[in-house]
Amino acid sequence: MTELELRLTSLREEIAFPETPDLAARLERELAARRPTRPRLRPLAITLAVLVAMAAGVLVLSPGARSAFLEIFRLEGATVERVEDLPNVPTTERLQLGERVSREEAERLLGFELVDLGEPDAVFVRDERIATLVYGPIERPRLVLSQLRGSIFEGFVKKTAGAGTRVDEVTVKGERGLFVSGEQHFVMFRDEFGRIADEPTYLAGNTLLWNRGPLLLRLEGDLDRTEALELARSVR
């Protein structure tokens, strides 16, 4: 440290700062009385199991499967397509949620402020485009909330449901959504660089997809429709 820096440091004790007000006494009671009412995740709704496991590999959807689409539901950034036969997917794969980053880093990479259901246990970003908030142990998450900018990913993400899957149209805060339930295996397709590829996923829960302004949100967990919608409405 130079002499000048030492002189400045010595000055620290000499500055005549105004007396610090006792903000603690003033605020403690006031703040306790208006504790933020952000809903906490309800353990009962999410204890039964694992949710999503995105497989490591990327498969190319067979022409047969592509031609077997029976129904198409459209959201701004996603399409749910019902097929007769799902591609085979591995049953034991590690989560492929991308790179684990801080929330701030995720927001910087994606260029938008993340929404959440409360503070997540981990945040992942994949391809600098999709953020996934994980609740519960990372290897066995109890709830996963993914989000991406729908306007950028128009036609980018597709989610395929098997024939045994029920797809219900729902509304979340006035915006359109789809609740996908019944079938355990889903495949999320993506169409990047003009080709159709798919990331096989398997899950033991249901999925709610919905638009929120410019974002497409996907909530996966062991949730029934009412629970999923309740959680979706609490996202902020």
Partner: protein, 185 residues
């Protein structure tokens, strides 16, 4: 049985769970640095008090978004500094007080430390006066680093700049301050 004081992480976690007393402890532990940071920016005690108080309220509301395990003080100081800058801007031409040394006040509320007493009153005033001649961004970076003893990282967060900027700005400000003192000497 004597229980150990809670760590900052534990206090933050308890506050996140709605424990108002834990947040009260966090306020008590940080209200001085928060107020002084705000004061160095606003140069007005009332504005600084308002900025610090608002910052604590905002920090409390934002607790659910605070990343577990992250240091709390830089996060808080960033909110404080932002609030203080807002008040500084809105204050416009309102008079801002220059920093003064405690010994030059009529009342002797703040007793000098042995370390501080090494500086003669005249030298202190000369140094403070020279500090006041610097551009605001230079004065602030030196104030954060040396008068508030904030780390480079904390200074960067509080001033909303990169750590490298803090380094370069500090170096430049010290150079200007040195030149100013030489010219006066």
């Amino acid at each position: 049985m004597v229980s150990r004081p809670l760590t900052e992480d534990e206090l933050v976690e308890q506050a996140r769970q709605g424990d108002g007393a834990a947040f009260g402890t966090l306020i008590r532990d940080h209200q001085e640095i928060a107020f002084r940071t705000a004061y160095l920016i606003t140069r007005n005690a009332a504005d600084a008090e308002d900025a610090a108080q608002t910052a604590f309220v905002k920090a409390y509301d934002a607790l659910p978004r605070f990343r577990r395990g992250a240091p709390w003080r830089p996060w808080l100081l960033a909110i404080v500094a932002n609030e203080a800058r807002n008040r500084r801007r809105s204050a416009g031409r309102r008079e801002h007080l220059a920093l003064r040394a405690a010994h030059d006040l009529p009342s002797g509320d703040a007793a000098p430390s042995p370390e501080g007493s090494l500086l003669a009153a005249e030298q202190r005033q000369t140094l403070l006066a020279a500090l006041e001649t610097l551009r605001e961004e230079e004065r602030l970076v030196l104030s954060c680093r040396y008068l508030l003893d904030l780390s480079e990282e904390e200074t960067a967060v509080a001033l909303g700049v990169r750590r490298g900027t803090v380094k370069s700005r500090t170096s430049r400000a010290l150079g200007r301050l040195r030149t100013q003192l030489e010219e006066e000497g």
